[in-house]
């Protein structure tokens, strides 16, 4: 007799240590995941706004398919770095090179705000992400598939106004994913969400990164999010890379495990060392 299949909705799928099936699936994915990502080399990158030099010489190599988290205090330049990588702003000096010829559709950004068009249905919002392929014959099918990947296939004819904050961000993720990008840059994508929605969104981000093998660059102020998701954490201080550390913790990772907690504590100590006390 066949076992009934248990479908776990994305939002309900919080870290459950007994979710063996899910973990086995994740492990299998990890072993098969082909890296379609683009590598990234940054040399002597500087950015000034008027007299204010925000980035003061960044040299960085990101291998294809890596998940990099960038943390730092507000105003340290981490979002500026992300905007330069995504091509939203022009650097004052220095260069950013991708491993191969990158098309506009290969690099996508997801922001803290979902930035959905309120006057377009959910599915049309996802279609926007196709860029120049918007008018192609399979645009609709591709958008539907991307929407299904984030677990919102049943919301495709809704207006964005009726969705919850987490759902809007998932639509924004579907829009970013629909063109099958090779670099995906996240600018605090979960900053405005409540704690539980954040955790389920982090799992979703981790899953699509596994599945699609893009290079992920995540800017966040949440150190625990950074160590839970990333292969590598960069700490930026005053416009420079102050620390560059690998997160050598096997996936799937257990939220709150001792390894992650130790890493998180170390990074937080670095970030807060200018303060008078690191105690709460």
């Amino acid at each position: 007799m066949q076992q009934p299949l248990r479908v776990v909705p994305v939002e309900a799928g919080l870290a459950d240590p007994r979710d063996y099936v899910g973990q086995a699936r994740d492990t299998r994915r990890a072993s098969q995941a082909p890296s379609r990502g683009l590598g990234l080399t940054i040399r002597g990158l500087r950015k000034s706004f008027g007299d204010n030099e925000v980035l003061r010489g960044i040299d960085l190599h990101i291998p294809a398919g890596q998940f990099v988290a960038i943390v730092g205090r507000s105003g340290c330049g981490k979002s500026t770095l992300l905007r330069l990588i995504a091509g939203l702003d022009k650097p004052t000096a220095g260069s950013i090179g991708f491993g191969a010829e990158a098309r506009a559709e290969d690099i996508r950004v997801m922001f803290q705000e979902p930035r959905l068009l309120p006057w377009a249905r959910v599915l049309s919002n996802v279609e926007v992400g196709l860029g120049r392929d918007r008018s192609s014959a399979d645009a609709r099918a591709r958008a539907e598939q991307a929407l299904a990947e984030v677990g919102l296939a049943d919301k495709r004819e809704q207006w964005p106004a009726v969705l919850s904050g987490g759902q809007k961000q998932r639509v924004a993720l579907a829009r970013a994913l629909v063109s099958r990008p090779r670099v995906l840059a996240f600018d605090e994508p979960l900053g405005a969400l409540d704690a539980l929605t954040r955790i389920s969104m982090q799992r979703l981000l981790g899953r699509v990164w596994h599945d699609q093998g893009f290079t992920a660059i995540l800017v966040t102020h949440d150190v625990s999010e950074a160590v839970a998701l990333a292969d590598r954490v960069l700490v930026i201080e005053e416009g420079r890379i102050a620390h560059d550390m690998d997160v050598d913790v096997v996936r799937p990772r257990q939220r709150g495990s001792a390894d992650l907690a130790a890493l998180e504590g170390g990074i937080l100590r670095d970030l807060l060392k200018g303060d008078d006390s690191t105690d709460l």
Binding site: E105, R108, L117, V128
Partner: protein
């Protein structure tokens, strides 16, 4: 969920199926009170004729064909003037909202002209156009121009810049950006302009027709005044109220059709 929605429902006693009629209760009560006051002699017919007398006057004018003729003339002037002034205002609003150069070139001039009450131009307009149709159309178009211009401009300038940046990131061309982001974003504000403009349209037309015209509702009212036909005067005023209501309902309907995405139109 907004605060309003989370409050307990006050309208628990809502009448079934007559919801659409609720808005007409107050006008009906006013007319009945008015009729009663006239019948009892509380309000002399010289000051205010009874509603029944007004209706009778309306019926007579309707039979003679005069009423339909005058309403049609006024309606025609209002809509043509609105279309002309509205489209010019919309065009300038677009140009100045989208182009810095155009805005620098024309906005200051337009703001100066805006501060001249357009009805103050009536003597000049009569000198230019006589009491011809073009005089009325000119005044209506001028009056309608500014609310549409200002609100179109405002709508375009206040489109969320984050959405525009998003559109650019996703490779929208300028035309696509306008069609998919800027215009829909400006639309709610444009409709505010349209509703203002409709009010100004009637106001301008009435004044223009009472001062210089040989047909139309305003002319009908002025003629009636000459002959002390107070019932016809009141009738004209009521027709203006009704036409104003019709214009407003039409723009609301259009709003509801085009802004169905807007949270304010998603009550159900």
């Amino acid at each position: 969920m907004s605060i309003v929605e989370s409050l307990p429902r006050v309208r628990a006693w809502r009448l079934p199926r007559v919801d659409g009629l609720t808005q007409w209760i107050v006008p009906l009560v006013i007319i009945l009170t008015w009729q009663a006051a006239s019948v009892t002699g509380f309000m002399p017919a010289r000051v205010m004729p009874a509603p029944s007398d007004v209706a009778l006057a309306g019926w007579k004018l309707l039979l003679s064909g005069e009423l339909a003729q005058n309403i049609w003339v006024s309606f025609w002037r209002a809509s043509v003037g609105f279309l002309i002034g509205g489209s010019i205002g919309f065009a300038f609003g677009l140009a100045n909202g989208l182009s810095q150069l155009s805005s620098k070139l024309t906005d200051t001039t337009l703001q100066m002209v805006r501060n001249v009450p357009h009805l103050a131009l009536i003597p000049l307009v009569i000198l230019w156009f006589g009491i011809d149709e073009s005089a009325k159309l000119f005044l209506v178009a001028l009056g309608v121009f500014f609310p549409i211009y200002l609100n179109t401009l405002h709508g375009i300038r206040t489109v969320d810049p984050q959405l525009i940046e998003m559109g650019r990131i996703y490779g929208m061309s300028n035309g696509e950006l306008f069609r998919r982001v800027i215009f829909p974003g400006a639309l709610p504000s444009i409709f505010v302009g349209v509703r203002f403009a409709l009010g100004i349209m009637w106001l301008t037309l009435i004044v223009a027709e009472t001062i210089a015209a040989s047909s139309g509702l305003g002319y009908m009212a002025m003629q009636a005044r000459e002959f002390m036909q107070i019932d016809v005067v009141v009738l004209s005023i009521l027709i203006y109220a009704l036409l104003g209501k019709v214009a407003d309902s039409a723009s609301r309907l259009l709003e509801r059709l085009t802004l169905s995405w807007h949270p304010a139109f998603q009550k159900q």
